[in-house]
């Protein structure tokens, strides 16, 4: 018990502690450490705007998998339609399916290739 009591006698702060105390109290004077609100108005709307912006700014390599799969599937379907010599309206549907996810760069060359091939096929006829 005696040892426990003596351990609670606080020692004198060293130089590092004194300077940290001075620094923190100086910063606290500015209101930064007292929980003083920094900005007026609620932040929830702003948080939503930031989240939207962050989501929109995801680099292409991070959004690649799912849209790219759809684009590839669409492109492949378009080529298949051409290969099977689908009638013109059906070919348009396939082309639209291919164009829908064409935001993805992967789809663009497939679409171009599909259009060129399609023209050639029809010319050959």
């Amino acid at each position: 018990m005696t040892m426990d009591h003596s351990a609670r006698v606080e020692r004198e702060p060293d130089l590092l502690e004194r300077d940290i105390s001075r620094l923190l109290n100086s910063a606290a004077f500015s209101g930064a450490l007292s929980g003083a609100p920094g900005v007026s108005g609620p932040d929830d709307q702003f948080a939503m705007a930031l989240a939207r912006r962050a989501g929109a700014a995801i680099p292409p390599d991070r959004v690649f998998p799912v849209p790219a799969l759809w684009a590839s599937a669409g492109g492949l379907a378009g080529l298949l339609a051409l290969g099977l010599r689908t009638p013109a309206p059906m070919g348009g549907v396939w082309a639209a399916l291919t164009l829908a996810p064409a935001v993805n760069l992967l789809a663009a060359p497939i679409v171009v290739l599909a259009v060129i091939l399609r023209r050639r096929v029809f010319r050959a006829r």
């Binding site: 130089l15 910063a27 939503m48 930031l50 962050a54």
Partner: protein
Amino acid sequence: MAGHENDSKDLGFDRALARRMVAGDVAAWELLLAVYGDALYHYILCRLHGDRATADDVRQETLLAAATGVSKYRGSAPMFSWLCGIARHKLVDAVRRNRQTGQIQASIEDHIDEALPDAWVTLGTAPLPEHLVEAAETRAEVIRALYSVREQYRDALVSRYVRGEGVDEIAARLGRTYKATESLLSRAREAFRRRLTEVELLDDGPFGTR
């Protein structure tokens, strides 16, 4: 090595938060604003010598830039230091836009005070000069360093040195022993000192996490 281990623990929260922020998780952005929003404002306000209107604008621009660039945050530096790095660039932009506000220009140039990094290196071995402690730039750097250490350390430092709580009071509140609390405070002081000396990290660029 121990320093790296501590960094890794300190940055765990920031890294987890960043992963959610990148995915556009609204709750993560709300958490960012709750934990760092006001501190960022006060960091900017100190740099602007109390120009509240400009501080509000710069804070908003900083956070918008952070939203665009959060995927570039690699988690090798504290999130708050990263935000302060962006803020510094936005402060320069604000000065360029508003040349007639000479005080803003002075505040930023003052920051490149060569005495400050030297003072951090000798912290604990030589007393800090009073004018340096009271400088607005010093306050800004103190805010940056304090919000760059983990929350547990931040709370301990503020409790002990700002609110003046005794070690036994903190120990009772945290449910720790006296010795363990002393040890926590010692680690908190060391982490804070280390973050103060990292001032040059901010010069790495707007996304200074290299």
